[in-house]
Amino acid sequence: MEMDCQHCNYKWDYLGDNEYYATCPRCRYKVKIPEDKAGALRQKKLDQVLKGRYPAPQKPVRLLGIAGIVNKAMEDYTYDESMLIQILLRLQRNFGWLPREMLSEVSKQLGVSLSHVYQVVTFYKAFSLAPRGRHLIRVCTGTSCKVRGATTILDNLQRLLGVERGETTPDSRFSLETVNCLGCCALGPMMTVDGEYYGSVKLPNVKNILSKHG
């Protein structure tokens, strides 16, 4: 665009993309870009951004790594936007956790904005954004289980493993989580380890249950 330096009256063709000021090549004075020309520059930048988001359709290519895992889940659910939560649940179950690259891939392949994917993933408790331990312990803290002493079991587990709820032990053996009702309210207090249910848990049995799973 045509630029006019007020300081030294030099005219030149500015080819950069800074929309606020341009440096005069002769006197190095920072010339402010007038408002009307700045608008055109902003539009050009926006066009580039939008073009990057909607690239030209490519030949289907076999994707590897994380992109491949995500693509497989997408195909099973036929790229349906409304099945976002189901796709993420499938990825969480198969992969164990949801790394950042996976979330970017989901956003790209499904066509939903990245902020939306992050909002969904951090809203629901089933998703884990950090790697979990080898064995997942879930303690039920529903009303019935609490009335029957689930808090004591939870405190004991926290003491035994040395972690708070929602954390993983430093040696990655166990992850401790709480659940709001597992659906076995008549058998309180309840806990599951790796999907195996243990009902009517008493304090002395906790150590046995943990040792059964390594």
Binding site: E19, R42, K45, L46, S113, L114, S115, Y118, Q119, F123
Partner: protein
């Protein structure tokens, strides 16, 4: 359907088109109902509940949010009453329990109008005041402007926050929409990015 209906707001007969909300109908008639999370041109959100009004319909009265409730025939609306004032005052005080006493803009104006004590729920709270009431105007405006929004909500309940997505913040230099619309004065800088923490820092700091 462009049916015109009649309703009563504060004992004033008002005509409005069917399908508009009480807030819009009141605005057309010149009656001001305070809002914090509402912005012209955006879909009504219903998060701040400051616009709560008392309506009477078929003999039963209840409190609803004016920004979302559709105007109906023969609706009676009361926008100021001791009950409504108390609700608005408590809402501002509750919002200030996280946002802090040092708020500017629309929230400060409402706090002085309703004589709210901004420190009522701040005593003994160890957390730093955030100046944010999570009204969501900045996020909604950003989504409207860029589709792939640079800021967004994460978390749920008491852990709900607004974070910045760095790879999407490329258009922030030309935008600044969020700064113009914040009702508490939280967004102040005109630098390259809005002053929100990066999403990775928040998630790793908390996890």
């Amino acid at each position: 359907m462009e049916k015109v209906i009649t309703l009563k707001i504060d004992d004033k007969e008002i005509k409005a088109q069917e399908g508009t909300t009480i807030l819009e109908a009141a605005k057309q008639a010149g009656i001001k109902i305070p809002t914090l999370c509402h912005l012209e041109g955006l879909e009504p959100y219903g998060a701040c509940r400051i616009c709560s009004v008392e309506i009477e319909r078929r003999g039963k009265s209840r409190v609803v949010a004016a920004c979302c409730y559709p105007a109906e025939e023969n609706l009676k609306v009361v926008t100021r009453s001791p009950k409504i004032d108390k609700i608005r005052k408590t809402i501002i005080e509750l919002a200030a329990s996280t946002a802090g006493e040092d708020v500017a803009g629309e929230m400060r104006a409402l706090a002085s109008e309703y004589h709210a004590n901004l420190s009522r729920f701040r005593t003994g709270v160890p957390n730093e005041p955030t100046k944010c009431i999570l009204c969501g105007i900045c996020v909604r405006r950003c989504t409207e402007a860029t589709w792939d929004s640079a800021i967004g909500f994460i978390g749920r309940g008491a852990n709900r926050r607004i974070v910045l997505f760095p790879e999407k913040a490329g258009t922030c230099v030309i935008c600044n929409y969020c700064q113009h619309v914040c009702p508490t004065g939280r967004i102040t800088s005109i630098g390259p990015d809005p002053p929100f923490p990066h999403v990775d820092e928040v998630l790793s700091g908390r996890k």
